[in-house]
Symmetry: C2
Subunit: 465 residues, 2 copies
């Protein structure tokens, strides 16, 4: 028990430290040891920053100390940007100083065959009760803690989920993509070689973190499958994972890239299912499903209702529902009776509910509110095909209003608007108001299916035991 509590504190000191030493701090723009301090400043980090460098006196306005032992105050986390061969010595000094967590950005360890050196730094750190994130990482970024402790150029667009990435390059690229995809994260954590701190450690920590609603993973290869499984099973928050290297040739490519063994597609699929992990099929899907699981409640039960103003998108969504394991059922008579009030004669109240192209924002509002409040409906996907008769933003606001006024908080809702610039704006507004919205009906249904990831049905529970 004591170790778990200690780990919790150490991870606190790595993910939300109140003081950071940058060992290898540099006064030269372009150097990682400079970027990290520049980024901490730019992100308005509120903790203390101590640059360490025997050959400098001041960097970006901060007093520089020759060694960490010269710093007169306690230090939570030490970030290493010094060459690999100097890391072991620096860790020894960190241990003497009483640092809690070590973030090793430096590369040149097991990923290039230097396994002994990597083992040595972990042993050294652990001997002082410290733990290591990395090596070979980009760093740690947190919107809540206003901390860009990395060489990634900026904090991500704010969101509610956390992302742990085994690839540093991809973490940087995804960080930038949060702004173009309009899907944010609260935290981005680069895990690199996983010499010490593992996915399991971070999942345990994030599951308890009150600023994180969901956990997304980009996994190239796992080192301790059992601990990973246990952490995922124990987690109360939804976990979405993209596993790369699931093809035969991909596994070989991954092995040469990271040095850790990537497994077969089916094995991971089975493992993920058992652990209640929502699998992402590609990078786009990782963003899409993260959006849904980070913003929406669990999809308990089987009944997805689809509301649309276009027969075409309704049928596409119906196909998608079957594809993603939620075959639609016709709504019961009382649901249909109610919905018939908000559509013309030629509409359909069955499921998908087709309000038809003449649907007004008011019809959307009434049908969404009443559907959500009916006990038969477990989840709702609302589709809108852009038509001249209604403005996309009016429909978006009607949906949001209906969701809020229904008072229903335990049923997930996703949306898809198919259309042009105005539909895109309306969808962005919905996302900013915590309703996941997607450019295709398929993606909206795929996203709501992701919210079923952790619900355990009787036969699944049996499989697990």
């Amino acid at each position: 028990m004591e170790k778990v509590i200690a780990d919790q504190e150490i991870l606190d000191s790595i993910i939300k430290p109140t003081s950071i030493a940058v060992i290898g701090a540099s006064s030269k723009p372009g150097k990682i040891g400079y970027n990290v301090i520049e980024n901490l400043l730019a992100s308005k980090y509120e903790g203390k920053i101590f640059p360490i460098n025997p050959n400098a006196s001041e960097i970006l306005g901060f007093k520089v100390y020759p060694t960490i032992l010269d710093v007169p105050e306690p230090i939570d986390a030490a970030i290493m940007t010094i060459p690999a061969k100097l890391v072991l010595g620096a860790i020894e000094e960190c241990g003497q100083k009483g640092v809690k967590g070590i973030i090793v950005i430096t590369s040149g360890f097991s990923e290039v065959g230097e396994r002994d050196l990597e083992r040595q730094i972990v042993e050294k750190a652990n001997s002082y009760g410290m733990r290591i994130l990395g090596p070979n990482i980009v760093g740690v970024l947190s919107n809540t803690n206003k901390m860009n402790a990395s060489f990634a150029p900026t904090l991500p667009l704010p969101g509610k989920g956390a992302l742990i990435s085994q690839s540093g390059a991809l973490l940087i690229a995804l960080d930038m993509a949060t702004f173009t995809r309009k899907v944010g994260f609260d935290k981005l954590i680069s895990i690199g070689n996983m010499s010490d701190i593992s996915f399991a450690d971070l999942i345990n920590w994030l599951d308890k973190d009150e600023d994180t609603t969901s956990i997304s993973l980009y996994i190239e290869g796992l080192k301790d499958g059992r601990a990973f499984m246990e952490a995922c099973r124990a987690a109360k928050k939804p976990i979405v994972a993209l596993k790369s290297g699931v093809s035969e040739h991909g596994a070989a490519a991954a092995a040469s890239h990271t040095g850790s063994l990537a497994g077969a597609a089916n094995m991971y699929k089975a493992v993920f299912k058992q652990a209640g992990i929502v699998q992402a099929s590609d990078l786009g899907n990782l963003f899409d499903r993260t959006l849904a699981v980070s913003l929406q409640p669990e999809f308990r039960g089987d009944n997805l209702l689809i509301i649309t103003n276009g027969g075409g998108v309704g049928v596409l969504a119906t196909d998608a529902a079957e594809k993603y394991g939620i075959p639609l059922k016709f709504a019961p008579q009382d649901v249909q009776m109610e919905l018939k009030k908000y559509m013309p004669e030629f509409g359909s109240a069955k499921n998908p509910v087709d309000l038809t192209g003449v649907a007004s924002a008011e019809w959307y509002e009434s049908s969404v509110r009443n559907s959500l409040m009916h006990p038969w409906v477990d989840a709702l996907t609302v589709l809108y095909c852009e038509v001249a008769i209604t403005h996309p933003m009016d429909v978006a606001m009607a949906i949001k209003k209906a969701v809020d006024e229904s008072g229903v908080k335990n049923k997930p809702v996703t949306v898809s608007f198919v259309g042009g610039v105005e539909s895109d704006k309306a969808m962005q507004w919905l996302v900013e108001n915590n309703i996941p919205a997607y450019a295709t009906p398929d993606a909206a249904v795929n996203a709501i299916a992701a919210r079923r990831g952790r619900s355990v049905k009787p036969h699944e529970a049996r499989e697990r035991s």
Copy 2:
């Protein structure tokens, strides 16, 4: 033979008419009979426009004629926007006038059970040698012919492919989405109830049209599967199709929406494969695959080479290759020897070719050029993970330069940049320069796989015969 030639001329008169009568032209903004004329004007249509309405004298500057028989000049196409019950009489007059093609925008036919009326208008038109597009359609849009003969708000973003859509609402929404997705079309054709002119007719015509490089279809249900199959098999241009209503429940929903029978997923999959059609999995994929087939040559052979600056995206692309039926092979020694010149010691020339994060635009240029020119390489997917060391636009320009300077025109190339705003801009520039670019490695590989759709391997040829 004569009938085929006649049909060709009739379809010419519908898709690129030199004169149009709008029967039901209106002077009231908001009416479809007004919108169509307004849209013809806005699209700078260069043919003649004759509004027909017994109760108006001038609409948007055009002289209005009481009936089509009063028009003193010959007319290629008549667009009907009058109520359904008046269409039959108007078609009689069109026949007397010598009109060639009829575009019936009006709804209220077989989709609401009026099958007899629909049959009557077709019989009437055919009796005069005319043919009907529709009824229950949005109209016809063509960038090449500067013609928005529809009530869709605008011509689509220009592109090289044509799209035929069975759903009018979806056609309008996709029209608008061409601008946000940055994937254009040359033509959009709404096919509606397919009372007379079928998918097969339009595919035959588009296959011969010199302004069309590929044909995309949104299909809800086919009426004449045999003719459709024959048209697709005979077509020399690539065909991409999204079939909706492939799920059990979706088929039921589709039947209530369009009145035509939607079939099972597997049946369509088999039919499409036999006909050499590239299937799209959803609306996003329809855009993605259209982009590739409309811009890139056929992927003949089996050898896809992937070039990347990021191990992570390389592995994801490798997984995607296996998923989409193009398992990667290691490049032969001479290819590897050449590529080794453009990467650091720790790069990999196997496949995926990892130029590593330090890759310059020059390395991209050299490796793309040399790969394309090597006979082993049949197709190329180039990946770039946004890093500080290179600017995305420089990499995009290097790729384009290498493709051009290689002189190789018979191997498809797709690209994926993972990153932020600058990566998006670079990808848009690539698309404008005829190189399909996608936000994820998975999509880039899926797109290049789409270019294999029509290549017939020996065992497939045997299956066909």
